[in-house]
Symmetry: C2
Subunit: 200 residues, 2 copies
DNA sequence: GTCTATATCGGGATAGAC
DNA sequence: GTCTATCCCGATATAGAC
């Protein structure tokens, strides 16, 4: 690629890095791979981002930040509890549908370096979200454990994506489109389960 | 360590390797670390297992094999469906309680190399398990999607373990014992949700 | 800003002594 | 069987030319 007149090389690098890091993780990624993908020489990476670690940090910040942002957007809508629940499930699954490897990346990072991620999460997440959710849940049915309930919600939405190959092979023998319809049906299935769980 | 008279060095290496690989994954692991943990020189590893890859293979085989074995044992008991469900959930969670990092490891490997893992899974899993489970489920309630139901069962049991730091921080601010009781309560919570889902 | 050349380091693997 | 010494390679990182 010729000399960079417009200043978008940095952006291109970040895009490439995001892509590779998402797929390979920090340990599995080699800088050359990112360089190739950004159509740039390997050393030039170090011109823009002094080290691999620094580059990784940038990507991490952006990804987690964006993720948190979207989750917050979903969680803080003002509606009757069941409607809200429906939207949360729906939007959650949509989010993962359009960012297939993101949950895996965050999960991996969460275990590699829990404190760092949880710091990002805590800073970004609305302080009072949990108590508000708990309050609304208990307004609807006070006998349900909020943490168990939330955990179930998250689990059922996220896990099929982080274990996608399992779903593919176990249920559909690798048929491509089957996963799409499975995920689509999942929205109502999960919602129904949750409603059942809190309806006395 | 002195010369090995009894032949348990290999075993010790496997133990150490299992431990390190489980924590760090294939990419994150360095051979020196395993050598240290086995109290042996780094080069001796190569005497027993020609390469890192080979050593990893051995560990992987054993771990996944053992895992499959236990899951199979749980799944193939002969009981009325609801009782069976209760036992499956209970045993599943117990399995993860005593092997905290195992699910993470398998999940990671599943995404790193889906075909290899799924091959191991397919070989080991009873061919007719799914159809049998589906049959029994539909005997109890024919209107429930078997794949959605199974996915929910697995998700709710496994996910809290693979996202353990999230659970810790989000719900308990890192209190150590809280996770234990959470997991204990989870057995009945998940079971109740599943029963609710299939009771017309 | 981007390249080529090079330094440095770390980890996997092998040879050979004991 | 286990060690020490060494080889080799690949990846990060830097210096300096253009």
């Amino acid at each position: 690629m010729q000399n960079n007149v417009n200043g978008n090389t940095e952006k291109r690098i970040l895009e490439a890095a995001k892509h590779v890091f998402l797929q390979q993780g920090m340990d599995g990624t080699v800088m050359q791979h990112i360089a190739d993908e950004a159509d740039i020489s390997r050393t030039s990476l170090h011109y823009y981002f002094r080290s691999k670690e620094k580059l990784y940090e940038s990507v991490l910040q952006e990804l987690v930040g964006r993720f948190i942002g979207q989750v917050n957007g979903i969680m803080t809508q003002d509606l009757p509890f069941p409607e809200k629940l429906k939207i949360i499930v729906h939007e959650y699954i949509e989010l993962f549908k359009s960012n297939p490897v993101l949950p895996n990346f965050i999960l991996h990072e969460l275990n590699r370096n829990p404190d760092k991620i949880m710091l990002l999460l805590s800073e970004a997440l609305h302080r009072d979200f949990r108590s508000r959710f708990t309050e609304e849940l208990h307004g609807y049915n006070p006998d349900v454990s909020a943490s168990q309930f939330m955990m179930s919600l998250i689990s059922m939405c996220v896990f099929p994506f982080v274990a996608r190959p399992l779903v593919h092979h176990l249920f559909f023998d690798g048929r491509k489109d089957a996963f799409e319809t499975f995920v689509e049906e999942r929205k109502t299935f999960v919602f129904d389960m949750l409603i059942n769980a809190i309806t006395p």
